[in-house]
Amino acid sequence: MEIRAIGCEPLQLKRMHIENGHTLRVYQETGGYTSLKKALGMTPDAIIQEVKDSALRGRGGAGFPTGMKWSFVPKETPKSKFIVCNADESEPGSFKDRYLMERDPHSMIEGMIIAGWALGAKTGYIYTRGEYKYLIDIMDVALAEARSAGMLGRNIFGSGFDMDIHTHTGAGAYICGEETALLSSLEGYRGHPRLKPPFPAVEGLYASPTVVNNVETFTSVPQIIEMGGIAWRDLGTEKSGGTKLWSISGHVKKPGVYELPMGYADMEKFIMEDCGGMLRDDKKLKAVIPGGSSVYIMNAGQIIGQNVPLDYEGLVAAGSMLGTGGMMVMDETVDIMETTKNLSEFYKHESCGWCTPCREGTDWIVKIFNRIADGGGRPEDAKLLLDICDNIEGKSFCPLGDAAAWPVQSAIKQFPEDFRTWLADKTAGNGVMPNV
């Protein structure tokens, strides 16, 4: 598997190939914790301004501007504030955070401490999916190193600021990547999302002001403090600042984690050249899901010759989304309806059951796919599936419902022939698909 930067100096991936890059010693030898020292000499407002200037957008999938999220935390409050790192990486297609935690855990910790100082939070939690047990062990060691060297605990670097950070394990629930469900889980409850507002910045963990950010968001913070927000932004585009990690998997020769400047041109070059092109030379590109399973699937015609820039705006214009940057590539051997069924099973399994549209809708989508697969397809099935999606999308409690509807909607829209053929093959009748 490849891990490398293309079109930029490695920032997120700076320590990926340095021996013992996960240790405090090597981290400091390569410039680590200098940003924290610098930040402790800055005012909290100045730090938040740098993060705003950087145009950093949350790397967990939603892409919300981080500086704005931070500015929602009330300055004056009698309550304790909390910093939470969302290390629940569970989006199908995404595996970048794993390598950040494995090989450079101090970057994330440094980012969290800077956030703590900027927002006045003295406690941080790293919520990690339970399957990443070996990473929790690595982070526990890193936190202990930071504590004994004075980066955590009382009077950090003589600044008078106190903070500690703890690891916390999840136990297998995709929904806990949604920030309010994560907070419910961190309180020891089922991972049910909460109504917003109030937003976590005002009432989050234990009903106290809380900032929840993704691992890669926190690892960006020391870079921003070191370089300055504007300089970091200018690595990317005006609206999508900095560099971004992409996880690429499926039918390419060189799957892996790639760091690209935001706005990298273009998607076709990235897949066909940087990632080595199609896994099997005689098979053509058929489909790409560019941002993790929760975004619209794209057909080859939306990519080849289209000059799609890899940033938030570019992928929206091309008919999909950046999401977490978990890019899954499929060649012509893939049956798009089988892959859509596979993702629908995922969402059915991971729906938390809290709200009816998502709980019932995801179940019905899978039931219909199964009925078709078993030979019971009906001409009206495309319309029926789209009807169900319409009853989930925008009507569920949290974005999981949208994420479940989009793969089905986009697969039927971008691959109507596949659906028609699939239905015809599986149906005793004529398999005619009505106009959708």
């Binding site: 598997m1 304790s80 990486e89 569970s90 989006e91 199908p92 297609g93 995404s94 595996f95 955070d97 794993r98 939690y125 999916r129 339970g130 399957e131 990443y132 047990k133 070996y134 703890h166 916390h168 394990t169 999840g170 136990a171 297998g172 629930a173 995709y174 889980s185 961190l186 309180e187 020891g188 409850y189 089922r190 991972g191 234990y206 996880s247 690429i248 998997s249 499926g250 039918h251 799957p255 892996g256 984690v257 899901i289 399973s293 978990g326 899954m328 499929m330 893939v334 892959t339 596979n342 993702l343 995922f346 399994h349 991971e350 729906s351 938390c352 059951g353």
Partner: protein, 176 residues
């Protein structure tokens, strides 16, 4: 929702009052988890402690749940409420080697069906079942964040990636 949740666990909740016992070292480890959270928020430690109970007892059973309810000052139903939500908690015994095969998209298109077929026919069980000697359980799971090294499986907490039939044979042969 945990799809593999057996429906029978409710019987055990109602009828068992057995409380598990743990060594002082394990109790100490439990306290170190509780200490991470504010004093009046010890329920936050519930999931880490359920993980610990499962590690020590092999699965999340009545006695372990009853212990945690007492230890954290919760109702038994509070503990079950949380335990039954998360797919990593085994609500019935599993084999010593819990083989969890990722079935989500990237693994699916990179060869997971062949791997699953091979493992199941070799062990003579279906997904969701345990071998008679109690050595292996096979479970199909959703994405484990190893898409670039697909297909993959996790055996207990160990990641096995870029799987081939040969690799799988070696993993099974090396399992005690």
């Amino acid at each position: 929702m945990a799809a593999a949740t057996p429906t029978s666990y409710t019987d055990k909740i109602l009828y068992s009052t057995e409380v598990a016992e743990f060594s002082p070292a394990i109790i100490e480890e439990m306290r170190s988890h509780v200490a991470k959270y504010p004093a009046d928020r010890s329920r936050s430690a519930l999931i880490p402690l359920l993980m610990l109970v499962q590690r020590e007892r092999g699965w999340v059973d009545n006695a372990g749940v009853n212990f945690l309810a007492k230890f954290l000052g919760l109702e038994v139903t509070d503990v079950w409420e949380t335990a039954t939500f998360y797919s990593m908690f085994n609500l019935r015994p599993v084999g010593r080697h819990h083989i969890q095969i990722c079935k989500t998209l990237s693994c699916r298109i990179m060869g997971e069906p062949d791997i699953t077929e091979h493992i199941c026919s070799k062990l003579g069980i279906h997904p969701g079942e345990t071998t008679e000697d109690g050595k292996f359980t096979v479970t199909m799971v959703e994405c484990l964040g190893s898409c670039g090294t697909a297909p993959m499986m996790q055996v207990n907490f160990d990641y096995h990636e870029d799987l081939t039939i040969e690799k799988v044979d070696k993993i099974l042969a090396d399992a005690e």
